[in-house]
Symmetry: C2
Subunit: 159 residues, 2 copies
């Protein structure tokens, strides 16, 4: 139901040996735990993380075509269809054909969508509070800062 991820069957290693100390492995484990947390939390309010991504993107950057949204959120344009269907079913977004370019749909957030977004924001705040529970406020900031630096560095397309 929740999707994926599980902690190890039982705690795996105990020493910070090669296995456990590797950043890549720690990242994978933590992301697993994080994903599980977020998915469970969001499912309680009938949402998924892509819903939030789309709504937040609409709120921050305004309406746009599906392709635009796809680029903004990182969702594949083939998957965007389904996400928008789900959001439209719930009247959280509006899908209107673009008069200026009849290939496009213009997606915009509805008042209900905004309300829902605020709710999701609250939910996510709480979930992140749980996720980062063992860290002090300063540590959380630092953690996010480091993550951002790393993501940005590798985000620069270099292929």
């Amino acid at each position: 139901m929740t999707g994926k991820a599980a902690d190890m069957p039982h705690d795996a290693t105990q020493t910070p040996g090669r296995l456990r100390g590797r950043a890549s492995r720690l990242l994978a484990q933590l992301t697993n735990q994080s994903d599980r947390l977020m998915n469970e939390g969001l499912s309680l309010v009938d949402a998924r993380k892509w819903h939030y991504a789309v709504l937040a993107s609409l709120h921050e950057f305004g309406p746009g075509s599906q392709a635009t949204l796809s680029r903004r959120t990182g969702i594949f344009r083939s998957d965007m269809v389904g996400v928008l269907n789900e959001l439209a079913e719930r009247d959280l977004v509006e899908r209107v054909p673009d008069p200026d370019d009849r290939r496009r749909n213009v997606i915009s957030i509805t008042p209900q969508g905004r309300r829902h977004l605020r709710r999701l924001d609250k939910v996510l705040d709480d979930l992140h509070d749980e996720l980062l529970a063992p860290l002090t406020s300063a540590e959380r900031t630092e953690f996010v800062r480091l993550l951002t630096r790393l993501v940005d560095h590798h985000g620069h397309a270099h292929s």
Copy 2:
């Protein structure tokens, strides 16, 4: 803690808005990039991350049954079969029926396995160097420390 910034329509150009600043999202992105990096790097030496996990586990904790290895590494025991097949094909591990319990196989690492493990260690060192490139040495340490704290916290089976 994340400041609830005022709901401005669209003026925030570069602010680490809700979407981008969320730790969960940064984690997911970075893990993606990390996984890619590791998989690509390891495939160049005909290996996968589970290979490393098993070999490292054997090296650190000695031989064990497949179920034991499964618990140590977090690999499902149904998937362990395939991993061990691949490793055995390459003569990196030995699979011997346990005389004391005929249900079990005892898996142990071979000299070739140890050699391969050292090679993988080197490869992973390099890959992690690339992964953490934008961070100073002190920052890398801190980063791993924070990750470990978080993973440990959520690892506590509290269900």
